[in-house]
Amino acid sequence: MTDKERELLLLIEKEGRMASDKLAKMLELPINEVRDMLSDLEEQKVILGYSAIIDWTKAVGTEMVTAMIDVKVTPQRGRGFDEVAERIYRFKEVKACYLMSGTYDLSVMIEGRTMSEIANFVSEKLSTLESVISTTTHFRLKQYKHDGIIFVDDDEDDHRMVVSP
């Protein structure tokens, strides 16, 4: 990974929509080079996609319920946690899945339209898996910050005087 590639990644991690001509100027590179760099990084699966950060609580009528589930599992000989993790993360309800150190093994984030939808998923799909020993479900009550973006704040307001020396 070159310094310029790293710098490019950090820029689009914050602002995925940034146009190539803008990126080219910021990085002092020809625009073709930036385009090539982006497609290379996409091919190498360093860049996996481009998405928006949305505060769903403000999108009326589309509010979702999110739960973080601590899952204890029995690792399998030769495959460790990967196989059971795969069984779990392939469900489309699973938004995120991490292997953790500490008192449980997998941290699974689930999104659903209602609490009962999530409860059903946990009782029918997750806890019935053979390797799953136990689950602890925590429902998310409020989102303060996600992916570095603060959801409830006025930090973005510019308090500066319009002209100063």
Binding site: E7, L10, L11, E15, M18, K22, K25, M26, L27, E28, D155, D158, R160, M161, V162, V163, S164, P165
Partner: protein, 394 residues
């Protein structure tokens, strides 16, 4: 409520009356009266002070640390500044008697000048520059002597320009690189030429290095770190620009003990000490603020690259500013003065920039544009400037 206004028996110092109000004021008033403007006229970062710094100050209040500090500032903070100066700029200052924490670099400039300049002394001021240097020299009774720089020399000061203005009364020179408003920087080789002349004529150097960290293409070289310059340099810096701490008003001066002792006399009578809660914030910035500062610097550099290139595409000639967060394009091609350009741009396109002449000699024909604004604001501003320039030329 009606207030009584003074009309009679007003007795002001001739010295103070002789000082013109800042040229920026008129622009401020005009821009403030308008809505929906994009301001590139701001001389401060667009970041809020990092949270750990704000939090440290809150914690100091919770602990009841609300009394005065030593005149020269918290010893712990001076020790951190000393370490920082050595690590970053290879120049050593004893925290006990060579560093004073001031109320912003602005106070640092004031006490530095007052400690050195006698009435009648001439102080060379490399311009364009920050608006306070010449007035502060005048307040001491000294005579500011402008040394102009120009775009042809990338706004670096030349030995010849200084030499031409030396007189038997020349006592000191004011340098400020990276520079506000031009963004110019001076490398080691260029500074060494100036240093040789300074030594030859036994001058004192006031070096305002408030933008030192905001040096994008090469490492900043401190005047005090050049050979034979430490003991004739008063270095002025602060937390405002690099740590996004303008409103806290914390700066510092570093100088050999005899200079520091003289400055401390003025500071202790005029100021007592810098604000205690702000000093605790500065301490946290020094200890744990460098990483966030570096992220801000990367972002300024990216925005500089974007903005300067876009100004050139818009048809404005622009030197490559190596530091600070200002571009200083030439507007001569439009046939307007910098004042006309700035005023028309503001009224017609609602973009605020600062006319270059307010920053002194060599500033006319340019405008200062701060790129410490969000990318979307810069993009919109550049579009509007391009439309404006195109319009003028047709």
């Amino acid at each position: 409520m009606t207030y009584v206004k003074a009309e009679h028996n007003v007795k002001l110092s001739r010295n103070v009356e002789g000082i013109a109000p800042s040229g920026i004021r008129r622009f401020f008033d005009l821009a403030s009266s308008m809505d929906n403007i994009i301001s590139l006229g701001v001389g401060e970062p667009d970041y809020t002070t990092p949270w750990n710094v704000r939090e440290a100050s809150i914690h100091s209040l919770e602990r009841g640390l609300t009394s005065y500090t030593a005149n020269a500032g918290l010893m712990e903070l001076r020790e951190e500044i000393s370490r920082y100066m050595e690590e970053r700029f290879q120049t050593t200052y004893d925290p006990a008697d060579e560093i004073i924490v001031t109320v912003g670099a602005s106070e640092g400039l004031d006490i530095a000048l007052r400690a050195v300049v006698d009435p009648g002394d001439e102080v060379l001021v490399v311009e364009p520059c920050f608006v306070s240097y010449a007035p502060l020299v005048s307040l001491t009774g000294g005579v500011p002597v402008p040394v102009p720089t120009s775009m042809e020399n990338n706004f670096q000061v030349s030995v010849e320009a200084i030499r031409e203005r030396l007189t038997p009364d020349t006592k000191a020179i004011m340098l400020s690189f990276p520079n506000n408003p031009t963004g110019a920087v001076m490398g080691k080789a260029e500074l060494e030429e100036i240093a040789a002349l300074v030594k030859e004529h036994d001058l004192v150097v006031f070096s305002d290095e408030i933008y030192a960290e905001l040096s994008y293409d090469e490492e900043h070289v401190s005047t005090a770190a050049l050979e034979g310059m430490w003991d004739r340099t008063v270095l002025i810096s602060g937390f405002s620009k690099s740590f996004a701490m303008t409103g806290w008003r914390v700066g510092y001066v570093c100088a050999p003990a005899p200079y520091a002792k003289a400055m401390l006399k003025i500071h202790q009578y005029a100021m007592m000490c810098a604000s205690t809660m702000a000093q605790y914030a500065a301490l946290e910035a020094m200890k744990n603020g460098r990483q966030e500062m570096e992220e801000m610097i990367v972002s300024y550099r990216q925005r500089r690259n974007y903005f300067v290139e876009s100004l050139r595409e818009a048809g404005l000639e622009c030197h490559s500013p190596g530091g600070a967060f200002y571009a200083f394009p030439s507007i001569r091609a439009t046939g307007m003065t910098s004042e006309e350009f700035a005023e028309k741009l503001l009224i017609e396109q609602r973009v605020a920039v600062v006319p270059g002449h307010v920053f002194g000699a060599g500033g006319e024909g340019h405008v200062r544009c701060s790129y410490a604004a969000s990318m979307s604001q810069l993009e919109e501003a550049v579009d509007r400037i391009a439309a404006f320039v195109k319009n003028v030329r047709n």
